[in-house]
């Protein structure tokens, strides 16, 4: 497959909640195998943007295409697109009443209509991918945050998505657990998974992202390779933002 293939196209997404205009026209293309990282202050619409892409939050205006097919205004077919657009949440949202294995299996059985044996096999394969096969029979409440997040990544992977949206996947985790989740995500990126990641982890952004989009006040304020945004003097806003975080941490 051509690596310049645009797999996901986002065009002029706008979204308001009441008076508050959260997204004011965001557009970008995502090529297959690419990792894009979204950085920016809280409340600038990063998470809302991800939810607009898979229509968990329908945007007021703008369009999203997956592989040339329109995701917005797709009616009942949205459930097909959501299989192809995986999502990983800050608070994992594992199904609390199911074991890790069953969490991964559920959509394979119910949505993809797979047979039991096949679904189990596939679910175990995905759990192995994230290093959780030994925990297959444990329930979410028995897992650490990092383990739970890895299971939720496996759950998204099981649907063979074209792209996975990560909504602050490590924000609920301490540094040690953050590392184990980031390792899994780096591995996925290396293996060619297409990923959109909202995060505050600059280290991850610098080492993995093909492109960083710095969002502020509902728009993409700066956009480019991590190196460019951090070192080119023409770009100042993301550096300012990171500087603010760093100085706060030194306090």
């Amino acid at each position: 497959m051509n690596s310049n293939n645009v797999v996901l196209k986002v065009e002029d997404i706008r979204k308001s909640f009441g008076e508050n205009e959260v997204l004011r026209g965001v557009s970008f293309d995502v090529r297959r195998g690419e990792t894009k990282v979204f950085i920016g202050p809280s409340g600038t619409g990063k998470s809302t943007l991800l939810r607009c892409i898979n229509q968990l939050t329908p945007p007021d205006r703008g369009k999203v295409w997956l592989d040339g097919e329109e995701v917005t205004n797709s009616g009942a077919r949205i459930n097909y697109f959501r299989q192809k657009i995986g999502m990983v949440f800050q608070n994992f949202f594992l199904f609390d009443h199911l074991t890790a294995l069953k969490n991964v299996e559920l959509a394979l059985l119910k949505v993809r209509g797979m047979g039991k044996a096949e679904a189990r096999e596939k679910a175990l394969t995905e759990l192995r991918q994230v290093g959780m096969e030994d925990w297959a029979d444990h329930y979410p409440a028995e897992l650490s945050g990092g383990q739970a997040q890895r299971v939720s990544i496996a759950r998204a992977l099981a649907m063979d998505p074209d792209v996975i949206l990560f909504d602050e996947p490590t924000s609920a985790l301490d540094p040690e657990l953050t590392r184990e989740v980031l390792e899994v995500m780096k591995k996925l990126a290396r293996e060619g998974m297409t990923m959109l990641v909202v995060t505050h982890e600059m280290g991850f952004a610098c080492s993995v992202a093909n492109e960083v989009l710095f969002m502020e006040n509902g728009v993409v304020a700066e956009q480019g390779s991590p190196d460019l945004l951090l070192h080119d003097p023409r770009f100042t806003r993301m550096k300012d933002f990171i500087g603010r975080i760093d100085s706060r941490m030194e306090d």
Partner: protein
């Protein structure tokens, strides 16, 4: 008359016959009462506005009127518009409606308590709302509703005695007949009370076992259930 003869040859055989009818009433009502409760709770919580309103109104009507009145309407009232039930069927229909309405409230409370993230995660995987409700939300909600549902089941055991008011000779009715015929109110009704106590005790033990079996490992609920 000898006390032992009265007890073993008159009272207990009569109560056992009544008990069988009581158990039949419960067995015919409880499963449908649970199904109705689930349907009404889900309809109210997730249905379109019309369905939701219908479910809400149903619960309002049943909660707001005495069960005895409902039984009278079903048995004595409906024949006037051409619907005739036997006393047993009228009782079962009344119990299902009553049990279903109260169950619906317990289940609705449990549905509300399930965090939004569960639905969001299910939909993000491509599940429809109904698939998410069936496979993700309801299984969790029903487990949480067990204490309330078991309470309602115990009420059902006891209000099944109202069937006597529309001529079904169940446990209480059988006791009443013996009591009036032999003028043994205290003995007869005490014996009836003991049988109800036994039924409720069995239920309580069964519910404890059920709660332990469905508790999700690692949760505080599981820890609490293990300590029971």
């Amino acid at each position: 008359m000898d006390q032992a003869v009265f007890l073993f040859e008159i009272l207990l055989p009569a109560l056992m016959q009544g008990l069988v009818v009581t158990l039949q009433l419960i067995a015919c009502s409880a499963p449908f009462g649970l199904a109705l409760g689930i349907a009404v709770a889900v309809g109210r919580q997730y249905g379109n506005p019309v369905v939701s309103w219908l479910c809400k109104t149903f619960v309002f009507l049943i909660k707001g009127t005495p069960l005895l009145l409902l039984l009278f309407i079903l048995y004595f009232g409906l024949p006037s518009i051409g619907i005739t039930f036997t006393a047993f069927v009228a009782s079962v229909v009344g119990f299902i409606l009553c049990n279903g309405a109260y169950n619906a409230e317990y289940i609705r409370g449990a549905l509300i308590s399930i965090k939004d993230g569960q639905m969001v995660a299910a939909q993000a995987l491509g599940m429809t709302r109904w698939q998410a409700i069936r496979s993700v939300i309801l299984p969790q909600a029903l487990c949480r509703a067990i204490p309330g549902l078991s309470n309602e089941f115990i009420y059902l055991i006891k209000y099944s005695s109202l069937a006597y008011m529309i001529t079904v000779i169940e446990l209480s009715g059988a006791g009443k007949l013996v009591a009036t015929k032999y003028f043994t109110y205290t003995e007869s009704f005490a014996a009836v009370g003991i049988v109800y106590l036994v039924l409720v005790s069995i239920t309580t033990v069964a519910v404890n076992i059920l709660e332990k079996r469905v508790a999700v490992p690692g949760t505080t609920r599981a820890t609490a259930a293990a300590q029971l």
